[in-house]
Structure formats: C-alpha cells, structure tokens
Amino acid sequence: MTSRFLTATAVLALAAGLTACGSTPESTTTPNAAADPVKLTVWVMRDSFTDGVISRFKTGFEASHQGTTLDIQIQEWDGIGQKVTSALASNDAPDVIEVGNTQVAEYAASGGVKDLTDKVAELGGTDWIPGLAEPGKIDGRQYGIPWYAANRVVIYNKDLFEKAGVTAAPKTRDEWIEVTTKLNKGGTQGIYLPGQNWYTLAGFIWDEGGDLAVKEGDQWKGALDTPQAIAGIGFYQRLQALGEGPRDSDEAKPPQADVFAKGDVAQLISSPGGATAIEKANPELAGKLGFFPIPGKTADKPGAVFTGGSDLIIPEASRNPDAAYEVIKALAGEKFQLDMAKEMSYVPNKASFAGVLSGSEGAAAMAIGATNGHATPNSANWAAVEAKNVIKEYLTKVLTGGDAAAESTAASQVITDILNTKS
C-alpha cells in the first residue's frame, strides 16, 4: 500500500529544500499536559534511528512534559505483524507504534487504531507528504500520522574506489557492472548484495518496464514471469555475483551495515541512513562513505526504487491516548523532524522541512533516485505476499542455479493466488 504520491512530493520537497534551504519556523512549545505522572511506551523499529536521535528526543520530551516518562522500545522486523496485532488486541497496548507505510492500512482497517482525523489540522496535515498520509487514511479518516520516508541508494567506500582507480560514480547499469567488476578483486567485495533484497530486485524489474504483479480487471496476476521481470532478475544475478552476499539471506541477517563496516566491501544498497549505522560500527570509516543513486539503464534516468517510510499510530487500547498524542505531535513536529533528517538523511514528513537535507550527500543521491520511485502492488493482500517470503525465496532459487523461467512461473502463480484471496 505504499502510495505512488510519495515519490513526486518527496522530490518536490527535496528539490525545494536543496535549493531554497529555508523553512518557516513553527512553534514547537506545547502546553504542559496534566501533572499526573504517566509512563508512555513507544515502539520504534530496529535500525529506524540511531540511539543518539532517540535519546535526544527522550530527554527533550521529558524535560518539556513534566511528569511524563518515555519507555522507547526497539522492535524487531521479524514477526512484527504478529506483535503489532497482539498489541492492538490487548487491553494495555503501547501508546505509540511505528508502522511501515505498506502495513499501516491493514492495521487501520482492523479497528484497533485511534482515529486522529480531528488532529490533522493542528499537526499541519495539509503539508504532509501524500505517500505517508494516504496509506494512513481510510474512508476519509486519518489513522496513521506521517513520520518519515526514504528510498535506497548505493553507499560506497571512497578508499576502495580510489584504490581501484574508479574516479566517477557509474551512471548506467553497464558502467556499474564494469566498475563493480573492477572493484571485486583480491580481498575486496565489489558489492555486498544479499540474495533476498527483493526491494532492489523490484527496482530492476521496474527499470525494465515490468512489475511484481498487475491488475487485469478486478483480478490480480503475478508478473515475475514476464520477459521484463526475467531481465530484471538476470541483472540482479550478474550484480550479486560480484561480491560475497549470502544468496539465501536478506539485508538484515546478518545486518549489512556490520558487513560493510569491516571495510572490505566497496558498495552496498541501502537507504542513506545506513551510513550512520556503518560509521557507528566502525568509526574509522567516518568521512569515507560516498553515495550515488542506483544507476538506471541509461544515463538520463536513475534506476527505479521502492519508496518506503513509516507512519505513527495510537492503539485504541492505549491507556493514555492524550499523552500519546503529545508524543506523536512532538515526533511529527519540526524539532524532531529536522534532527532526524539531518542525522539519518531521511525525507521528513513535510515538504517544508526538506531544506534541512541540503548539503547532505546521501540525501542528494536519494532525491535523484526518488524521481523514479515506485510502490508495491496496491492490494490489501500484498502484506501476505511479503509475509510468505514469495519473492525472497524465488530470488534464492534463481541465484543458486534454478531455472528463472520455470521458477518465475511458479512464483507468479503463488502471488496470483495470494492476491486474489478474499480476506
């Protein structure tokens, strides 16, 4: 359910920010809520933010909201659907939860999420990035509050590029393969691309003009077996072979930032925020990381990317909905948005905040990539395709020697079946 609106606005926002470099300051002082001491639980996903961003927010918020303490808990992506559903169904849920923009609609539809429509005006909702605001909205009611967005770029190790004599970032796929082959020598991995990075595969397929699934009338059809999609996985395979990324695993297992941090990997596909994690794991790499947009087929158009992001929700079962709203207000507000955008190179939730990203190399690369942003198929059942790891397992099969034609037909059939089930 990632909205296609995201792309366009993100670009506009970034462009505006990068050139104008200014934003209207907005009062962030909030009236102190009731004096009763409350302890709020906030769920944030693993690797969404650095510890620094989170602890700065916690300290600041607690100082300006006397009597409120925040328990910010980091959640793992693995099994998160089960976890959030359990939380929504409980009597004493966490007060604020971060949910991915491909999942927020499903939760909002379940009836366990608080309707925040009457707060939209106060939060300045007219300025929100539609790609985050739209998925959080059902039947005109706003349940998810936009938080941040990002898309993938290539992060590279400047030292290794220099050592291999690579002076310019590749602009086309052919150049990219050429450069990566050159880098992939001796103890150096040209690129670390785990076999199951299916968002990256999706980008290659979109580049070819294909898609993951298409809607014909009111029926969905898995589209991994189209010639375009086969060409996409073909390129993935060529690129993946130029490094030692595990063919049976994704970017979280092991965390790819840790792998890159060892210093013998030349390139990595990640959101620009990944650079922060890399520098944390290995401070020696600080200042040695560069960014470029994922190259497209031709030099005039960057590679297609999946545009992802997160919304914030308050469960109906929260015991402190008013205090929870104060947290959301702060997290969606200017102070936090500017701070996290600066440190993580994420796209903030409002176009007017984007100025903060000017001067950031990662954000600049991301902005170029964002001009060719795409979304996953707009079906409520798409989450089930992800949950069953259909595309990940398809990738592994092809990368370990399976026949792409046969495997893609089978995988497409599975996608067709899942998307056409009635829920």
């Binding site: 659907g81 169904a89 366990g112 063919r247 089930a384 069953k388 592994t396 990368l399 829920s423």
Partner: protein, 295 residues
Amino acid sequence: MPGLWPYLLVAPTVLGAAYLLLYPLLRSVVISFQHFRTGELIRGGAAFVGLENYQEVLGSGEFWSVVWRTLLWTAVNVVLIMVISTLVALMIARLRKRLRLAVMSGLVLTWATPVLAATTIFQWLFQSRLGVVNWLLATLGLESFRSYTWFADGTSTFVILVVLVVWQSVPFAALTLYAALTTIPAELYESARIDGATGWQIFRNVTFPILRPLFGLITSLEVIWVFKCFAQIWAISRGGPDGATTTLPVYAFQVAQSLHKYDLGAAISTLTVLILVAALITHLRRMLRHEGDQL
C-alpha cells in the same frame, strides 16, 4: 471415605487441564467455525460460518501436500531414531566400562542441549562461508560444497532438520533402551548362545520380545514429538524455502500468525490433532487394554 481419595488426588490435574488445556482447545475449535481475522480479534463479535473454514482448508492443494510432507517427516525421523537408538543401545551394552561411560556422557550432553541452542549451533555448523561442515566437505575433495548454501535448497534444509531432530532425539531413546537391556538376565542370552543362535536371532527372539512394551512406548512418544515438532523448524527455516519444510504445526502457525487468518489456522490445528489421534489409535487402544490388565 477411601472412595473419595483418588478423585481428590487427581482433582488438581483435572482442574488445571480443564482450564489451561481443554478450555483453550474448545475456544480454538469454536474459532475454527467462525470468521475470525484481525478485526474480530481486536473488536470481538465473530460470526459463525459453519464448515466454511474446513471446506477452504480441505479444498486447498497446499494443505494436502503439507499433510503428506508431515507424514514423510514423521516417518523418516521416527524410523531413523528407532533404528539408530537400538543400534547405539546394543553397542553401549558391549562396550568396556570407560568407553561406555564416555559414550553415555556424550549422549547425555546432546540430550541436555536446549532446542534453541541446538538450532543456533546447527545454523553455525552449516553456515555457507564459515561453516565447519562446508570446510570439511571441501577439504575432503568435494569442491562443490565450498560456500554451499544449505538453507537455500528445500531438500538440503529438510535433510539438515532431520539430522538435527535425530541428533537430539537419539540420546533419550538409546539411553532408555540401554538401561532396559541391562535388566535382561544374562542367563537368557547364555542359553540362547548355547542353542547356537546368531546375534540377529538372539535380538529377535530374546531381546526384542522383552523390550516390546518399551519399544511401543518410545515409538509412540517419538511419533508425537516429531509430528508436533515446531521450534526447530521455525527457528531454522520458518517452513521454507518455498514451503519445503512446512509441516502441519508450522503451517497452522503461518496461517494464523503471519497471515492473520486465525480461523483457518484453528481449523488446521483441529485437523492436526485428529490426524495424530488417528495415527496413534492402535497404540492408544493397546495401552488401554494393557491398563485393564494391570492392578
């Protein structure tokens, strides 16, 4: 009032089971007759839909392939466990004291390894780049195993899981069988040997008949344990790749927890229990008859 005592003694068990086992089981069965998805879990108010869930489950080809896979999984594991355990038990009985103690301690060590630790170890052993298994195979000249990705292929993942489960299950069965072997009077063996019986004949005519009740008990326990096995499969493969290691408990969990189709998951679980009971019905009947004789 001696007549009341036994009932008082089993009362805590019965009450505990009623509340913590029977009641959840009944609720699960009820859910299997309802439309029960995320919304119903959160808001309540599930509607009854009769046999719809069962029709959907039984009508899907996936369910039946999972059933066959589960039966294969159970058969392969239990046969391997029983054969290997018997051989190991017979071997231990023939060892000299020190070696016997060493082997038994080794088995106990395996037995004591918690499931989650064991799955972590196996993932490490079969890790593609740094795993010691690939190193060993490559060193032995099987170059194709250098950086071989075991967990990418359905069959090899299935095989690893079988190895893991057999590795974990053999100690219990083997040590129990060995301990039983030691209770067989030596005279029985001697007289058989004097009659000129071969090793196999001795096993078939002397050892096996005496141990038969124990074989029955261990086999049925292993059937239950292997059939229900969930933690190992979930931790290592999540039922993948491509469903190649999805057995019934894993399937029910996936449908309920990953896809949030709690109603279908409940229907699958109910069917799982029925299949298990059907598979063990002969054993249960024999056990019941046996109970009648005793005491």
